[in-house]
Symmetry: C2
C-alpha cells in the first residue's frame, strides 16, 4: 500500500530526477531543468549544489549564446569520472566496456567466444578485459557498479543465469563469478540481453519517449525485451519475453528447448541456414552470407530469406495483437533479417495484425546498434545511483 513519501524521500527523488535528466539528456541549463522537472529555481540550485559536492555533476557557463542578459548555468554529468563497467556475453563474443555517466562508451575490449565456453572460463576473460581498462583510468574515477547482458534466462531476484540455451549454461552465478575475479565491492547486475537492449533503446535510443515497445533480439535464438506502460516487463521470476519459444507451427522443426515448431526454429540462425541449404554453417557471418547471396540473386537463398521474413512478420503480428505496442525494434540478427525481407515482414504483419493494433505501430532498427547491450548493461548499473545519488556517489 503506497502512502506519501517523507521529506527526505522527496529530496532523494528530486536528486535522482535531476541526475537522471542530465544522464539522459547531457548538458542542461538550470532554466531547462526548472521547466523539465517542475521545480522552482532555488530548489534546482540546491539540488545541483548537492550533486556537484558529491562529484556527480559540474556546473559552468554555457557556450556563448549571443543573447543579452545573464546566461543560465549549465549542469553536466561527470561523464569521465563516474562510470560503470558493462559486459555483454554473446554467442560468439565477449565484450567489456567502461561507460560514463551520460551513456558514452569510454573504453572497450572485445574477445572471441568459442561456442561451448563455460561460465567459469568466461569470468576470468571478462575480468582480464577490465584489468586492462583499469590501466587507463583517471586517478579520481569512481566505479558505481557493473552490469552484464547475457543471452539466457536470468532470475530477477539474484541474477542467476537459469538457462542459456545457446551457451549451454545452467544455473550459473555469473555476476558473483565476475565480481570474485575482479575483487571489487560494487554490485554486478545481470540481465537478459533483449531486456537490457530494450532498456537502452527506451532510455536513450529509438524508443525514447515510447511507453509500449517490443525489442526483438536475435542471435542463435530469439528473445524480446518488452516495455509496457513505460516500464520494463520482467514477469514473476524475470523470465518474460521468451517469444522465440512461442510455438507457431505444431509440426515444425525440433527446437533446442526440446519442443517443436518454436518461432525461433523458423527465424533463428539454424532455421535460416537450414532453409538456405547451409545446415553445416554457424554464426552471424554465415547468416550475412545468406542475405548477401539472396541480394546477388541466389534463388535458394532468396526463398529462405523471404520465408523467414514471412515468419518474422507472422510472430510480430501475434505480439502486436497481444501487446498493442507503438514500436517494434529489430535487433541483433533480427535487424539483418528485417532489412533483408522488410516487404515480407510488413505484408504478413498487415494481413495478420488486427487493424486497431496496427494503427500506430512503427517498425524500427536500433539507434544504438550493436552497443545497445553494453549501454543497457551500464544503465542497469546506473539505476542504483539514480535511485539514491548521494548514497552511492
Amino acid at each position: 500500500m503506497r502512502v506519501g513519501p517523507s521529506q527526505d524521500e522527496i529530496r532523494r527523488q528530486n536528486l535522482g530526477a535531476l541526475l537522471r535528466y542530465v544522464h539522459l539528456h547531457g548538458a542542461t541549463t538550470r532554466a531547462e531543468l526548472t521547466n523539465a522537472l517542475g521545480l522552482n529555481r532555488s530548489t534546482i540550485g540546491a539540488l545541483t549544489a548537492d550533486l556537484a559536492a558529491a562529484g556527480l555533476v559540474t556546473e559552468g557557463a554555457p557556450k556563448e549564446t549571443g543573447r543579452a542578459g545573464r546566461p543560465s548555468l549549465v549542469v553536466r554529468p561527470e561523464s569521465e569520472r563516474i562510470f560503470a563497467y558493462a559486459y555483454s556475453i554473446e554467442v560468439d563474443r565477449l565484450r567489456a566496456a567502461r561507460v560514463g555517466l551520460g551513456g558514452a562508451v569510454l573504453d572497450r575490449r572485445e574477445l572471441d567466444r568459442p561456442r561451448g565456453l563455460s561460465a567459469a572460463e568466461a569470468a576470468p576473460l571478462l575480468a582480464g578485459a577490465v584489468k586492462e581498462m583499469r590501466q587507463a583510468l583517471p586517478a579520481d574515477a569512481v566505479c558505481v557498479g557493473a552490469g552484464i547482458a547475457i543471452c539466457g534466462m536470468v532470475r530477477r531476484d539474484d541474477g542467476l543465469v537459469r538457462l542459456g540455451p545457446t551457451t549451454g549454461w545452467v544455473d550459473e552465478p555469473i555476476g558473483a563469478a565476475v565480481s570474485a575475479e575482479l575483487g571489487v565491492e560494487v554490485p554486478v547486475i545481470v540481465g537478459n540481453v533483449a531486456d537490457v537492449a530494450a532498456f537502452a533503446e527506451h532510455a536513450r535510443g529509438t524508443a525514447a519517449g515510447c511507453d509500449n515497445v517490443i525489442y526483438l533480439y536475435g542471435d542463435v535464438g530469439v528473445g524480446a525485451g518488452i516495455i509496457a506502460g513505460g516500464r520494463r516487463l520482467t514477469g514473476h521470476g524475470g523470465y518474460s519475453g521468451e517469444v522465440g519459444h512461442m510455438v507457431v507451427s505444431r509440426d515444425g522443426a525440433r527446437c533446442e528447448c526440446g519442443n517443436r515448431g518454436c518461432w525461433e526454429t523458423e527465424i533463428g540462425e539454424h532455421g535460416l541456414l537450414r532453409a538456405a541449404g547451409r545446415s553445416d554453417a554457424r554464426g552471424r557471418d554465415a547468416l550475412l552470407a545468406v542475405f548477401d547471396a539472396a541480394d546477388r540473386g541466389d534463388a535458394r537463398a532468396q526463398t529462405a530469406v523471404r520465408q523467414a521474413g514471412d515468419w518474422l512478420g507472422f510472430g510480430v503480428a501475434n505480439l502486436v495483437n497481444i501487446f498493442n505496442p507503438e514500436m517494434v525494434i529489430f535487433g541483433g540478427t533480427m535487424r539483418d533479417l528485417y532489412l533483408a525481407a522488410a516487404a515480407q515482414v510488413r505484408s504478413r504483419l498487415n494481413s495478420n495484425g488486427l487493424p486497431a493494433c496496427l494503427e500506430h505501430v512503427r517498425l524500427r532498427t536500433p539507434m544504438l546498434g550493436a552497443d545497445a547491450p553494453l549501454i543497457g548493461a551500464a544503465e542497469l548499473a546506473f539505476e542504483r545511483l539514480l535511485a539514491d545519488p548521494l548514497d552511492v556517489g
Copy 2:
C-alpha cells in the same frame, strides 16, 4: 520526469490509500490501518476524520473482543451510501448493477441480448435497468461514477468501442450513449470485459496480491486481461490482450477477424461446437451441452473437448513463455473448458512451457465468478474516487 509531490498531493495520496484499503479489505481497525499504511496514529485519525466528514467512511466501536484495554476504533466504507453503476454487455445478455463502495453488489438487473442488438438499441435497455434500480435508492445515496465491461476492443483514451467482433459494433461511443439516456453527470468508463474482470480478480479476487497474472476470458471469442508488474497492461491504444487472435495454425479455420487459424477458432464457441458436430448451435448453453455430453460418454463430444483442451494448453504455454505469470485464470467459457479438460490443458502446458516459466505458475478459476465483469466495471468507476477522495465524494 517524476519529481517529489507537494504536501497537498501527499495528503490526497494518503486519503486515497486509506479509502482504498477499507474499500478492498472492509472494516479495519485504526491499529491495522496504522500498520498497513505505515503512517502514525494521529495521521490515521486525521485522515479518517476527513473521510468521515465527506461521508465516505464511518467510524465506530468494534465488536466485543473480550480483550482488556481500550479497543481500537473500526473504520468502515460507506457501502450502502456510496456506490457506482456497473454494466456488462455480453454476447447473450445485458447486465446492470449497483455496486457499493467495498465491492458488494447492492442491486442488479439482467436482460437477454439478442445477437445483433446494436449499441443504439442496447443503451436504452441499460438505462431502463438503472431507472428501475433508482426506485429503491436510499435518499442519501451518492453515485460516484459508472463503468461498462464489454466484449470488444476499447480505445483507452475515450472508451470508444472500436470493434466488437461478436457484437458487430464498430466505433460505438456506448459510454456517451448510456450517459445521455440516463441524463446523469457522472463519467462512464468503458473497458474490455477481460481487462475489467482481470482488474476485479486482482483487486479482490483470486489474484489479490499477485503481480503477474493472465486472465483468459471466453465467450464467442477469447481475450485476456493482463496484470504485469502489479499494473494493468493496456497497450498503446488500449487494445492489448487480443490473445484470441494469436495465430496458432497457419492452415486453421477462418476466424471472424478475417484471418485463419486464430487461437479462438480452436477454443472459442464456434470451433468447439463445430468439432462436436453441432455447427448450427450457438451460445453458452450449447457449449455446456457439449461438456455434458462428453461427461456422459459421447465419443464425438469427448474428442472435441479434449482437442480444445489441448489447444487451450497450447496457447496458455505460449503466453506463459511470453509473460512468465504467476497465475493464469480461466474465466467465462474458458472456465468451463478448463474444468472439462484440465488434464489436457496441463499436459500441453507442461510440454510446451519453458521449465523456468512453469515453476511458479498456478492455474485458477475466478473467485468472483460471473460477477467479475460487473465488479470490475464498478472498480473502474471507483478509481477516480480513490485517486482523490475529497474531490469526488
